[in-house]
């Protein structure tokens, strides 16, 4: 069991059967009262965030949560297949667990897979990936109305992102997976 002095960012705890990670905490203590840790928890399954005041002396239950580096192999229908490079074991993870950025997954890319009670519950891509443009219009006027001179580009993994006008088919782009956004063009 954890107590309030163990609280830190990233600590994984179990509450009402759900795994949570601590995203923020603050020490609060009225002069004549007990100390509390005002703690922000994020549900690792739903992403929902909520706040609770944990009184000094209260206990928190550790969650059986493990993060593993795995390699993306291939897509199988709506599922995605990953491999543990340590022991070559494969796991199949449904697309809805991977979420919006499943169309940034490129073969052999290394991702972080979150297991809760030995079951995969989340996949985190590296912050940046390099992907090639498979389709974009040449030299269009772009959407200049708001001062943004951009156009859509289709990437090799199926995702579509807004890119500057000078980007051509075949270019290699650095993509921020958190925003699903173009960062820069790279050589190669």
């Amino acid at each position: 069991m954890y107590d309030t002095s163990d609280i830190r960012k990233g600590l994984k705890v179990l509450m009402d059967g759900n795994p949570f990670t601590i995203v923020e905490f603050q020490f609060v203590k009225p002069g004549k009262g007990a100390a509390f840790t005002r703690t922000k928890f994020k549900n690792l399954l739903t992403g929902a965030v909520f706040e609770r005041n944990i009184r000094s002396g209260e206990k928190l239950e550790p969650a059986n949560v493990e993060e593993k580096e795995m390699q993306y192999l291939y897509k199988e229908g709506d599922d995605f297949v990953f491999m543990d490079p340590q022991n070559y074991e494969q796991v199949t993870i449904p697309g809805e667990i991977i979420g919006d950025d499943h169309d940034l997954l490129k073969d052999n890319i290394s991702v972080s897979v979150l297991f809760f009670n030995e079951r995969a519950v989340g996949v985190t891509l590296p912050n940046f990936v390099l992907l090639r443009v498979t389709g974009t219009e040449q030299g269009v006027a772009g959407n200049t109305a708001a001062g943004n001179v951009t156009k859509p580009a289709l990437l090799e993994t199926g995702a579509s992102v807004q890119v500057p006008l000078f980007i051509n088919e075949g270019d290699l782009l650095k993509i921020d997976t958190r925003e699903k956004a173009y960062v820069e063009r790279v050589k190669g």
Partner: protein
């Protein structure tokens, strides 16, 4: 290669080389910290602290730790201390120095003293010693001292901090409240020539007098918990939980009260644009305050919250030795239940109360928080010269 002289060691002070001069390094790859010759002068070498292009200040250095923003707040801190001393000196208060190391530290269950050798502890406040001085017929005393409270680390807490505590004999709690209002206003005027400040992006009007509300009012209105002050813990627990407050597994009166206070009242206090004086505290949170005349469910105690900071805690002092002993024994029992060290009762304090104390009132004000308020800093680490983790 050349660099600017930011500091020189005693051995190498040149006659004409001054801090700020540009000096030329000998050929080669000189770095900050190297000895180099001063430019064009037949002078001893100086230690170069910085070259153009170096990262400055060097990460982890003292110069980086005490950055200009922090030094600005610390200069204000010194000014606050000067104003505080002037304020009390002009009112004929005697400044007293109290020991920081004692045998019988505070017994309140939520104060954890720092051990300072076998059977010795660092004070959590100078209260017990100052009350002995009241018994010595010193009618107006103040102290600026260092206090320590184990485990208190956060944006508003450091385990070692500076406390201003003052007492008036033959005085009422209202007299001390007036001192507090005038002191804070005087500090603001001295630093900023106005009592209209801003704190954390909100306007904060420190002009006296400050609004007052009772603890019962704010608990009912903001927390949805009716509190009289003399109900038992079971009854309070039912009301707190009925109001939907997350009280965890709390069973003690004070834990239940503060679960509601921290969840519902403190966030509201942070949003106020004037300081709030919270008066009429429940007798269960009486500590060293005396019962209010004719209202046994509350004690003579106030706290001031300004900009969300708990600035001070004041009592109409309990002077009855028998009642004080009863409360100390209750505190000892409560500490034992909580599995905390049970400190001895300060018999010298009780003896002083038996000699006779005039009706007195006193206040304890956190200087660090006053400086935070005056310099618009959200983190106490920005207003102290050394934090605990910088030692």
């Amino acid at each position: 290669m050349c660099g600017r002289v930011l500091w020189r060691d005693g051995e190498s002070i040149g006659l004409r080389t001054r801090v700020g001069d540009v000096v030329v390094a000998p050929a080669g790859e000189a770095r900050a910290g190297d000895l180099v010759a001063a430019a064009g002068a037949s002078e001893p070498p100086v230690v170069v602290r910085r070259y153009p292009g170096d990262e400055y200040p060097p990460p982890g250095s003292e110069v980086a730790r005490l950055n200009p923003r922090r030094l600005e707040a610390l200069a204000r801190r010194a000014a606050v201390l000067r104003v505080v001393r002037g304020f009390f000196d002009r009112r004929d208060f005697a400044e007293v120095d109290v020991p920081v190391r004692v045998r019988a530290p505070a017994l309140e269950v939520h104060l954890d003293a720092v051990a300072a050798g076998p059977d010795w502890w660092l004070i959590t406040s100078p209260e017990y010693q100052m009350k002995r001085l009241l018994a010595a017929e010193l009618g107006r005393i103040y102290s600026l001292c260092r206090c320590s409270r184990a485990g208190e680390v956060g944006a508003q807490h450091q385990p070692e901090f500076t406390m201003l505590e003052w007492y008036r004999g033959w005085a009422e709690l209202d007299d001390v409240l007036r001192d507090t209002e005038e002191l804070v206003a005087e500090v603001a005027m001295a630093l900023w020539q106005t009592t209209l400040l801003s704190y954390g992006g909100r306007a904060l009007d420190l002009t006296p007098p400050w609004p007052r509300r009772t603890v019962a009012e704010v608990m009912a209105e903001w927390a949805g918990v009716p509190v009289r002050g003399d109900e038992d813990a079971d009854e309070l627990g039912r009301r707190v939980r009925a109001a939907g407050v997350d009280a965890g597994d709390a069973v003690e009166w004070d834990d239940l009260f503060f679960a509601a206070f921290v969840e519902r009242v403190e966030p509201r206090l942070a949003a106020l644009e004037r300081p709030l004086v919270l008066v009429d505290w429940p007798v269960a949170l009486g500590a060293l305050a005396r019962e209010a005349p004719g209202r046994p469910e509350v004690v003579e105690r106030f706290e001031v919250y300004a900009g969300g900071l708990e600035l001070c805690n004041a009592f109409g002092e309990l002077t009855c030795p028998a009642e004080q002993r009863r409360r100390f024994e209750a505190d000892q029992a409560r500490r034992a239940r909580a599995g905390k060290p049970v400190h001895p009762i300060d018999e010298k304090l009780l003896a002083a109360l038996s000699e006779g104390l005039p009706p007195s009132a006193g206040n304890a004000l956190g200087i660090d928080r006053l400086v935070m308020l005056m310099t618009d800093r959200a983190d106490i680490r920005d207003v102290v010269w050394f934090t605990a983790d910088e030692l």
